[in-house]
């Protein structure tokens, strides 16, 4: 993987650095390019990549909860069908009442991704049209994919406890209680301490 093999990937970074204000960008390996922007630059950067540089395929859109920084990170992934390069666009938005621009006039399938992120994380998209309920039905609690939603407490409150697990213990204690067997050496070495 020599330097001149990454020529196509570097070309895109140079073009973008001339036209927009970027917070960071790099070529990670062959066929992977990454760029970090502010939320108001998302629509210009994506439109430029689609119409001028040929990144016509919208592959994926995802969201990560960084609760220690108080922010959500949203990632858009695009694909160039001829030069075969993946392009990542990353942006950060605040956890309390964050809003992002709506991109489903550029690609129609982004509507589904945005509806799911709105339901699971609670980020609002300006001008998004679509039914509120997508996957969950009659859900009145916090958006479930946030990191401060505790699933085990929710399950203990709502559903029945599963039978047969009240006295679950380590199998080594079990063996020594039921028989007078001495544990072999290889069984003693495994440790989860």
């Amino acid at each position: 993987m020599s330097e001149n093999n990454l020529h196509n990937e570097q070309k895109l970074l140079n073009l973008l650095e001339k036209k927009f204000i970027l917070k960071g960008g790099s070529v990670r390996r062959e066929r992977r390019v990454e760029v970090k922007v502010e939320p108001k630059e998302i629509v210009p950067v994506l439109l430029y990549a689609k119409e001028n540089s040929g990144y016509t395929a919208f592959t994926h859109m995802s969201c990560v909860d960084w609760i220690e920084d108080g922010e959500f990170e949203v990632v858009y992934i695009l694909w160039h069908p001829e030069e075969k390069i993946n392009f990542f666009v990353k942006t950060r938005v605040s956890r309390d009442n964050g809003t992002l621009p709506n991109i489903d006039f550029i690609w129609r399938q982004a509507n589904t991704y945005e509806r799911e992120i709105r339901e699971m994380f609670g980020i609002q998209f300006e001008g998004l049209v679509g039914r509120e309920e997508f996957i969950l039905e009659d859900w009145e609690h916090m958006p479930p994919m946030r990191r401060d939603f505790d699933t085990v407490k929710f399950v203990e409150k709502t559903y029945f406890e599963r039978p047969g697990r009240e006295d679950a213990k380590d199998v080594r204690e079990y063996v020594q209680e039921r028989t007078d067997e001495e544990l072999p050496d290889f069984a003693k070495k495994y440790s989860r301490d």
Partner: protein
Amino acid sequence: MYNDKESQKIVDIIQNYARKHSLFILAYGTGCGAIEIPPTMTSRYDAERFGIRGAATPRQADVLLITGYLATKSLKRVIKVYEQMQDPKYVIGFGSCTINGGMYWDSYNTINVLDKYIPVDVNINGCMPRPEAVIAGFVKLQKQIQEGKADGWDKYKKNLDYYKENQKKIITNWVMPDFNW
């Protein structure tokens, strides 16, 4: 004239013999166990030699096969379907998710113990059960039918309040009529 104890027993024996040899399964794949139903119904592990075949609507089916876990959105529809089926009807719980929650026990959207919401007659364990295990489960159900012990439908009618209270605890938007036979 034919209501005395001996002739009732003969009528029961003939009725149960006919019922156990023609079980129609409702075509509803509720969870991930539905991938082992096509191999059970096709040429290698042929289930039609036992009289088992598929039915299209709840009014024509005898057995409701809950293949795996149930999300709460699915549980509402399963209750509607179960109440539309006609007596006598049987429920088979398929896989370890119906017994104690399986590997999704700590998920916010799936129920743990199916027996508290609708009555279950036979449980088949495994993840997924093999087609031979599925047929063994059906043979056990057939034995229970012959002895007259597969009476989940009767239990549901007699203890309706208990089941409804469990169901309404989870399903908050109750838009279905309460059944009263």
